[in-house]
């Protein structure tokens, strides 16, 4: 709204003491308001300079603009090559494009929406330095985040919103993270309980897995290897866009690989599709709920059928037993406390958290021997997130092997027995999770990931 994308239904805004009501983003930009978006504001097939030009009111000619991009990016320690296609950049570099786009307009107010969700801890450190430098130069910064530690370390004042309403305003340095969390969520959190368990036989074995990405700007997997035993939880960390999606697809059977690269309980399955792998006990829950894990316009009953008919035996000579599917859907709704008027409702009508509970529940209730999840609690409120983590741990306690891919380090530390990180499609050797510090994890995730060498990614672009 401040950026002019939505108009207020009522009320008014003041900017530097004067009434301010931008009708469109260009008006906001003229008033010195700039915004760094959480996602979808870059054009992958256009180069850096073109992307920057699109976000400016009166961009100079391309050659001049390219020079200024180089200059400003050096000044703030965010190196960028203006001629590179944005599609070939890493997530961190893409964010730099957004930030530089804002900086070139000398903003008076900079709005940032969840800027660190795609960065490594080291990259976050560099970003915060840049922001402090800007703040010292007199730029006001509106920083929107759900990460409490960041708010505490960076912000002078915090306003807490819950479902569109202001619930509190405070000075974050004076509060503990837990107090802030309770203001944000409105209830006391319970971390999941972890029961110690003996290691079982090998459930999933991945050896030298290298596959190309199905997406033109995706990341290829390079020589990924790990072994997972029954009852074990492997947490895989990494910044978005480093091969997480591809790893899930290669596990679920949506990308095929050489026969022996993936083995379920010793049986090679590299060339088998999703249903054959499900029959052998492996299920998966992709990150994107609407459109990948679930079909938006289909009912919950139909979505329950989507990935379960092999393991639940819903088909007789190809004909669907809808009665049994309906029961299964009701079962998921009940067991995972999915808030919905009924199983006839279209998936897109559910809130993100409720749909996530449904998707994870659908896979867990199939009692798999291996489950692979990507971002299991992304965009889910704290209570539901805790429930999902507990369900995964319970499943592991019943003897299943769990692969949890996530960008939320706290989550991984909480549930993992062993820990690995993905960086540009390569995976580190899994290490026992016990005793790992956040710094060590950050180094595993790629250390000073591309911070000093902007051309570092050429190799990735060529192989993708």
């Amino acid at each position: 709204m401040i950026y002019g994308l939505v108009r207020p239904d009522s009320g008014r805004m003041l900017l530097r003491g004067a009434p301010y009501q931008p009708a469109k983003p260009s008006e906001a930009r003229q008033n010195g308001v700039a915004m760094v978006f959480q996602h979808f504001s870059l054009f992958e097939a256009l180069n850096v300079a073109e992307n920057v030009a699109l976000g400016m009111e009166n961009p100079p000619p391309m050659r001049e603009l390219a020079e200024r991009i180089r200059a400003v990016s050096q000044e703030y320690g965010l190196p960028l090559d203006p001629a590179k296609l944005v599609g070939d950049l890493s997530a961190g570099e893409r964010q730099r494009v957004e930030i530089i786009r804002c900086l070139l307009q000398d903003p008076k107010l900079l709005i940032m929406d969840e800027p660190t969700s795609v960065l490594t801890p080291q990259e976050v450190g560099i970003l915060f330095q840049t922001l402090r430098q800007l703040s010292a130069e007199g730029t006001a910064i509106l920083y929107i985040s759900h990460k409490l530690e960041e708010i505490r370390s960076l912000c002078d004042e915090a306003t807490i919103l819950r479902r569109g309403k202001v619930v509190a305003t405070c000075t974050p340095r004076d509060k503990t993270a837990r107090e802030l969390a309770e203001l944000m969520v409105g209830q006391v959190l319970t971390p999941p309980a972890k029961a110690p368990k003996p290691p079982g036989p090998v459930a999933l074995e991945v050896t030298g897995l290298s596959v190309a990405s199905p997406n033109p700007f995706g990341t290829a997997l390079k020589d990924v290897s790990f072994t997972l035993r029954q009852g074990e939880v492997l947490g895989i960390a990494g910044v978005a866009g480093n091969g997480q999606d591809e790893l899930l697809l290669a596990m679920s059977g949506e990308i095929l690989s050489p026969e022996a690269a993936v083995k379920i309980a010793g049986q090679p399955v590299g060339r088998l599709g999703p249903n054959a792998r499900r029959a052998l006990g492996l299920v998966a829950a992709p990150e994107e709920r609407l459109g990948h894990a679930a079909a938006p316009d289909m009912s919950l009953t139909e979505n329950a059928l989507l990935s379960s008919y092999v393991r639940k035996g819903f088909l007789k000579r190809g004909f669907i037993g809808w009665g049994a599917v309906e029961e299964f859907a009701q079962g998921i709704i009940k067991a995972f406390d999915v808030r919905t008027p009924g199983s006839h409702v279209a998936a897109r009508a559910l809130s993100g958290g409720n749909l996530q509970k449904f998707v994870i529940g659908r896979e867990i209730l199939q009692e798999p021997s291996v489950i692979v999840v990507n971002q299991p609690t992304w965009g889910v409120d704290a209570a539901a997130a805790a429930a999902i983590r507990q369900a995964l741990l319970d499943l592991a306690a019943r003897g299943a092997a769990v692969v949890a891919i996530s960008q939320d380090l706290d989550e991984l530390v909480e549930i993992s027995d062993s820990f690995a990180a993905l960086n540009e499609g390569r995976m580190t050797r899994p290490r026992p999770a016990q005793g790992l510090t956040v710094d060590e994890i950050g180094l595993m995730m790629g250390g000073a990931h591309g911070m000093d060498v902007a051309h570092h990614h050429e190799q990735q672009g060529a192989s993708a």
Partner: protein, 309 residues
């Protein structure tokens, strides 16, 4: 069969004429697709342009007004497509098909009274003695104004798309409409204008068919030219220069097949008639085998845009 009856220079000159309608329509569609919209109604817009241009030219006696009429007819029809897909969020493939079916019927309806009439002659430009240069003069310098305008449009569209801010915004909208919207660009309005430009170009191409290339009005006279223009856009990897080469290639095959018929080739006429379509399919296959992304297909092509905030 008497191949010596085929004069290469004349063949080349008529190739350029044969290529002009699909070049015009293809350029329009290229701009539309660069804005992220797939309009399969080219055939319908071309034939409506053909009859509108023809009717205006016959009634006013002026081919120039005829071409303007053709462009307006095509643009008016494309406006239906624009409203349906941009404001009413209708499926672009289905709407494009409806546009073609409707256009064919509607054009036949208007055209009833125009069957068998000759349109006023579109004059060829004269470059004085230059036009008499052997071969080169015949091939390049003895055409009507529209041929040169079409070639100019190739250069103009290339320049606008790649070197101007308008072009950059258009490509941005076709690449990622959500991001373009977030930056404050009017996605729907930009697409609306692009669609109407495409309609006008298709209408021009149609008018060129009925006023110069044939020149007569008959029902269904576009006979797939609109579809070939669509195929050319893919063939050209969304690049205006390549589109021109593609149009010449297709024009060449059409002219050659007509010349072979006239020269009394041993091959049955029907097989010569189908050759342009078969070759278009073959070319499409070769191009698409190289993969869509590498070719520069706009990422948002064919997807509806609805602003949620």
């Amino acid at each position: 069969m008497d191949l010596s009856a085929i004069n290469p220079a004349v063949l080349f000159a008529s190739l350029i004429v044969a290529a002009t309608p699909i070049l015009l329509a293809g350029l329009g569609e290229l701009v539309v697709e660069k804005a992220g919209v797939l309009n399969l109604g080219v055939e319908g817009m071309m034939i409506v342009g053909a009859i509108c241009g023809f009717a205006v030219a016959v009634n006013t006696g002026s081919p120039a007004l005829g071409f303007i009429g053709g462009a307006l007819g095509g643009a008016a029809l494309s406006l239906i497509f624009a409203v349906l897909t941009q404001y009413l969020l209708a499926n672009q493939v289905a709407t494009g098909l409806a546009l073609t079916l409707f256009g064919l019927g509607f054009a036949a309806l208007i055209g009833q009274g125009y069957v068998g009439i000759k349109p006023p002659l579109t004059e060829r430009l004269s470059f004085g003695p230059l036009s008499d240069i052997p071969v080169l003069g015949t091939v390049l310098l003895r055409h009507d104004l529209m041929v040169y305008l079409a070639l100019l449009a190739v250069a103009g569209i290339w320049y606008v798309l790649n070197r101007t801010r308008v072009g950059l915004i258009l490509r941005a909208v076709g690449e990622n409409h959500d991001a373009a919207h977030a930056l404050g660009y009017k996605v729907v309005r930009i697409r609306l204008l692009a669609i109407m430009f495409g309609g006008a170009m298709a209408g021009l191409g149609g008018a060129y068919l009925s006023l110069v290339r044939v020149p007569l009005w008959t029902e269904g006279m576009t006979s797939g030219a609109g579809w070939i223009a669509l195929a050319l856009v893919v063939f050209a990897s969304w690049r205006p220069g390549r589109l021109m080469l593609g149009a010449w290639l297709f024009g060449g095959i059409t002219v050659l097949q007509l010349n072979l018929q006239a020269a009394g080739a041993k091959v049955p006429v029907e097989y010569l008639q189908m050759s342009p379509y078969v070759i278009t399919i073959l070319v499409l296959v070769v191009m698409s085998a190289r993969g869509g992304r590498a070719m520069g297909a706009p990422a948002a092509l064919g997807r509806s845009f609805h602003a949620t905030h």
